[in-house]
């Protein structure tokens, strides 16, 4: 915990404000053509977020369809080898479809259904959110269109096929850098055009209000469970939380229930790609500056003229030049610390967990693991770290094999 936040206690449950602001970040920066749709969504969200029937249906889906609660697993062998704090993995990789993303799509789908929408659209980078969207669309019998950068379609072929099997129409996006940010642009364009029957499921805590807060609430189940699990298994809170940050949804999902616990240190891990000094990275909070993109004010990677620049990470899910506005705010007020690890470090984390614990992690999650290998040895064995294992690595097998010169 930093001294700054200790001196200025903040009640985190009071954020964002009614218009979606986290301090100077967040808000609604979209063309007028989308404002009414965002107001409708906000109205529906506020009507249902505390509705007992809605919440009961959500809980039932999370339990029986997603498979929650996910275990909090004590990685004993790995903790021992690192010789420091006890490491606990929040096993979001065990969710249906293999990542935390489905916590959010199950929730948004329930909302879409109540709003009478018949068509779901989504953007995706690694394909995990696309798969999670296609999955709930299949279950509800809704049409589903997933926008995906043509670059990402290449490196995530497995997930593209999964989405197609699920009946989704995967639309390649060839504008700009052909990755996640461009897919988001294209999804927004679709939404503006088809707003009457279409629900746009954003896959992370970014976008215009109410997305950052709505997605946070759907993902906050991660931290609520982890908090209870720590209390019931160990009778205490963890000393530190670690999660990777792309847009920031798995991270805020873990962090949110602990924000008011000032004794819990919080670390978000960004993708340093080839190294921040090379310029080929996606470490938005570590190396960016505030600006406006995709409907909110937040940290961005942009050039001196305010043009968004291309990012690089070995993991498609972290390859995004923005970040959720709540993280921007948590960074500025000092409540969370943001660090970055390189592709190579993440790959070592990937192999470590696989060999030592028998769990193949997603490359995104491997960034969090890589930071744990640095952090744990600096802590005592009677201290505890909870790390969000946001997804499983099956989708990344081809990428890892290729990097090692192996043809599958």
């Amino acid at each position: 915990m930093t001294a700054k936040a200790l001196r200025n206690p903040v009640d985190f449950s009071q954020f964002p404000d009614r218009a979606g602001h986290f301090g100077r970040y967040g808000g609604r920066f979209v063309a007028e053509t989308l404002m009414e749709a965002l107001h409708d969504l906000d109205d529906a969200w506020r009507a249902y977020r505390n509705d007992p029937e809605f919440l009961a249906e959500l809980d039932a889906d999370l339990a029986r369809y997603v498979g929650r609660p996910t275990p909090l697993y004590h990685a004993e062998r790995w903790s021992r080898q690192l010789g420091g704090a006890q490491i606990h993995l929040k096993r979001e990789d065990l969710n249906h479809t293999g990542a935390h993303k489905i916590n959010n799509t199950v929730g948004q789908a329930l909302l879409a259904k109540r709003m009478g929408k018949t068509r779901l659209i989504a953007e995706t980078g690694a394909g995990q959110h696309g798969v999670a969207s296609a999955t709930v669309a299949a279950r509800l019998g809704m049409e589903c269109v997933v926008y995906m950068g043509s670059e990402d379609i290449q490196r995530q072929a497995l997930n593209v096929y999964r989405m197609r099997l699920l009946g989704a129409n995967v639309q390649p996006v060839t504008s700009g850098s052909r990755t996640l940010k461009d897919a988001l642009n294209e999804a927004l364009r679709d939404w503006v055009t088809n707003v009457d029957n279409t629900f746009y499921m954003i896959g992370t805590v970014a976008g215009p209000h109410p997305y950052p807060v709505m997605v946070r609430e759907f993902q906050a189940v991660i931290g609520r469970e982890a908090r209870e699990q720590m209390l019931s298994d160990y009778g205490r809170l963890p000393d530190a939380l670690v999660a990777c940050v792309g847009g920031g949804s798995n991270a805020i999902g873990l962090f949110h229930s602990f924000l008011n616990d000032s004794e819990v240190a919080i670390y978000g891990v960004e993708a340093a790609g080839s190294g921040i000094e090379t310029g080929r990275h996606a470490a938005t909070l570590c190396a960016g500056r505030p600006g406006v993109l995709h409907g909110n004010r937040t940290y961005l990677l942009n050039d001196a003229n305010g043009q968004i620049i291309e990012t690089h990470s070995v993991s498609a899910g972290l390859d995004y030049p923005g970040v959720g506005p709540e993280h921007a705010w948590l960074k500025d007020i000092g409540r969370a610390r943001y660090v970055a690890v390189t592709d190579d470090e993440a790959l070592r984390g990937f192999h470590d967990l696989t060999r030592i614990e028998g769990i193949i992690p997603a490359l995104e999650s491997s960034h969090a693991l890589a930071y744990v290998t640095q952090l744990a040895p600096t802590m005592r064995p009677d201290q505890h770290i909870v790390v969000n294992l946001s997804g499983r690595g099956d989708k990344d097998i081809y990428t890892v094999a290729k990097l090692e010169g192996i043809q599958l």
């Binding site: 218009a19 808000g27 609604r28 920066f29 979209v30 063309a31 007028e32 053509t33 404002m35 009414e36 749709a37 504008s175 700009g176 940010k181 461009d182 642009n185 927004l188 364009r189 503006v192 055009t193 088809n194 707003v195 009457d196 505030p290 600006g291 406006v292 993109l293 995709h294 409907g295 004010r297 961005l300 942009n302 001196a304 003229n305 305010g306 043009q307 968004i308 620049i309």
Partner: protein, 273 residues
Amino acid sequence: MNRIARCFADLRRAGRKALIPYITAGDPRPALTVPMLHALVRAGANILELGVPFSDPMADGPVIQKACERALAQGMSLRRVLEQVREFRQTDAETPVVLMGYLNPIESMGYDTFVAGARAAGVDGVLTVDLPPEEAAELAEPLKAAGIAPIFLLAPTSSAERIRHTAKLAQGYLYYVSLKGVTGSAALNVAEVADKLAGIRALTDLPLGVGFGIKDPPTAAAVAQVADAVVVGSALVARMGELADDPDQMLREVAERVGAMREAMDRSGPAKD
């Protein structure tokens, strides 16, 4: 009086409607932007909308996206757009110029630096697509103080309450987006637009421009019957892209298109006032 207000006042006296072409600054080549602006004025444009290229133009269709990519690939930036306006102003002190773009390049430059630069260059209005009135005060106030009109969009979905709120903040004109979609989408429905404009007029005295989906002289003429200004963008930008390698032909053809719209608008007779 701001050049935009003067322009609408003059047109109203003459019983004519404003024709507002949009081009993306720096597209297809930075050196052609200022000559193109002059050619548009000669062809009958009353106000010029100059697009500030942005890497992520979320409200634009493929035509303007590609124009932005072409312009950025040649080093265009907000700073260079302001230089182009300054150059244009050296030989045209009358025609209002409105910058149209996204917020991030302006945030990146800093609001104060931008407003001072825009004023010095001779910019008359600023339309920031992704800056709705709720978030706009911080930019709109210094713009107004510098004599520059903050211009806002209205959509088919805008409620009466939002229209009233927007009109209070806006100067120059209100830009009614005629359809659900991005720039360059399918053709608009004139009857629907007429209906909606009547509703907006009941709430504000600002001139009303209509854009998105106006591609040909007959549509321009029909919209001119019900609006104060007709904005045409993608139809011109698409042709500019196609003729990028033949600048003379490009200047001629795009001016001809604008001239044909001007003529159709003027032929369709004086406005009901």
